[in-house]
């Protein structure tokens, strides 16, 4: 059985302020996750803003060095003190998808140049092979190369551009794709297209995903495993359907209660406004 993702005593402390008056923020507090599986999985990390979920993603992507602890992805040590995996090998293992595709792609470069460079530099393909792999990757996300070629990011809708960025991440055949809030900038009616695409890529192309979100409904829909984070601590971890249908931790219950569903109205017990305003 392969170790898809393993974090051991992962800690990250950010220091704010000046040399003399500094404040420490524990963004990750002893995060221990271990997911072993023979088949690809989708792991969701949920929590509110400031819960440390993006720091976890950045640590995996080597954008942030952990204060202590280490991370293993597909039996390969990727992050930790003194861990320096070869860069191209690392990028062929873990690839990112970011929240806002309009920030991920420069406005002054055509988007296909990003795909081309990923193909030639990261995947190490020749020019002709690079074009072929770009075509394959774009087809697998439901786009065509000729629709993307020579276009700039402002010529796409948010959903389309996010699919281009998924295609880019697919080119080096990574084992794990880290998607940090990939649908929060996308119109609600088209979110499910991206979400269903993740499911399809998992089934057809055997890619695992780490899906970072605060939207529990989509997390429930696609995940095999779910980790609920609060203030840097993983408060609940397990099979997604089990955690969501039978939450053990009070924080998970709070998150579940806060989802605006179209089935049941919120119970309104305690008024927020303390006094009579019109009086």
């Amino acid at each position: 059985m392969a170790t898809i993702l393993k974090t051991e005593n992962l800690n990250k402390v950010y220091r704010l302020g000046s040399l003399t008056r500094s404040k420490h923020i524990q963004a990750l507090n002893n995060v221990n996750l271990n997911i072993e599986s023979d088949v690809p999985v989708i792991i969701s990390v949920v929590g509110e803003s400031g819960s440390g979920k993006t720091t976890l993603a950045k640590t995996l992507l080597r954008l942030v060095e952990p204060s202590s602890g280490k991370v293993t992805v597909y039996d390969q040590l990727v992050a930790g003190k003194g861990v320096h995996p070869p860069k191209t090998q690392f990028l062929a293992t873990v690839q990112p998808i970011f929240q806002n595709p309009f920030e991920a792609f420069s406005r002054y470069r055509t988007v296909d140049s990003y795909l081309y460079e990923t193909a030639t530099r990261v995947a190490g393909l020749s020019k002709t092979d690079a074009i072929a792999s770009m075509e394959n990757a774009l087809t697998s996300v439901g786009l065509e190369y000729k629709d993307v070629q020579g276009k700039y990011s402002n010529q796409f809708s948010g959903g389309e551009l996010q699919r281009v960025s998924i295609a880019r991440a697919l080119i080096p055949h990574p084992s794990l794709i880290v998607a940090d809030e990939p649908v929060s900038m996308i119109d609600a009616s088209r979110r499910m297209i991206i979400i269903n695409l993740f499911l399809k890529l998992k089934e057809d192309f055997k890619r695992s995903f780490l899906y970072i979100t605060h939207d529990l409904a989509t997390a429930y829909y696609i995940s095999d495993y779910i980790a609920v984070m609060n203030k840097g601590v993983v408060v609940e971890f397990g099979n997604a359907k089990e955690v969501m249908s039978n939450p053990q931790h009070s924080y998970t219950r709070l998150l579940l209660d806060s989802i605006p569903t179209t089935k049941q109205k919120w119970a309104r017990t305690k008024p927020i406004i303390t006094a009579n305003l019109t009086a």
């Binding site: 509110e48 803003s49 809708s157 948010g158 119109d187 609600a188 009616s189 088209r190 979110r191 499910m192 297209i193 991206i194 979400i195 269903n196 605060h214 939207d215 529990l216 409904a217 989509t218 429930y220 829909y221 969501m244 249908s245 709070l254 998150l255 579940l256 209660d257 806060s258 989802i259 605006p260 569903t261 179209t262 089935k263 109205k265 919120w266 309104r268 008024p271 927020i272 406004i273 303390t274 006094a275 009579n276 305003l277 019109t278």
Partner: protein, 323 residues
Amino acid sequence: MIRLNNVVASYKTERGTVNAVDGVNLEIPDGCILGIAGESGCGKSTLMKVIYGDIGFPLSLASGSVDYGFTDDQGNKVTSKNIQKQWFKRISYVPQSSMSSLNPVIRIRKQFLDFESSSKTKAQTLQEVKSYVKKLGLPEESIESFPHQLSGGMRQRIMIAMATFFQPEIILADEPTTALDVVVQKSILLLLMELQEQMGNTIILVSHDMGVHYQATHKMLIMYAAKAVEYADSPDLFTRPLHPYTRMLINSLPTIGDDRAREGIPGRPPSLWNKLEGCRFADRCPLATERCRTEEPAFIEHRPGHFAACHYADSQANLSEVV
């Protein structure tokens, strides 16, 4: 009652003019929360600008008018021409991004006093602001801080406090919770709902999240490609929608505990630059026929208080309940 009479709002650009809101007729009763939903670019924010009276280049009101149903101090009827004088007092606006709406280098206390009244001293107004902010569940000290010292949820609550301080008749909230996470979103929405119940004013809430609308609104307007396509009481709209687009919007949301596959709405809305014929949703609609592509459906009342613009609003496929 706010009445929109055939509102056409257009943007002037280098390529010519484009109608972002194209002929919307609507009557919004007093004392309700109206939700406006639709995809990005469907004209919901432009409609909000028109209702707020914030019409300036490149936006212009090409035809139609907005009637607010109240008169100003001189007894003149208030329309979109002179609503600007009533800003904050009788109509106010809660923007999406509180960080870019508050001045980052001025304390919140001072930003509150920006709209002080002439009859009271600064100290009196400040005291009122403090007690008002406290009533909304914020600490009094929060108005002494700079915007960056507060969390996103607190800043948004400050914005709501500013918008409601004079208890205006109309409050416009354009995606007030989009940048916030679910826990804070719930508290902000509950705050708006409670304020509305206590003040009895009209809130117009724009969001593309149908879950938010289900929780907060009394009436719903669905917009598609610059047109109003459905308008009804929320409970009715969520259980028995008449427009296929509304049904697809509701069904595109996954629900916890429901393992059925969900589909996003494929395709994209037509470009408003093109000459548009027939129903604008026809290309993405499962019920579309030849008639839909040539003849534009009228926005008519199919059931009491339930308007929709669809040729097949009463067809069998449309009458089943939403699951």
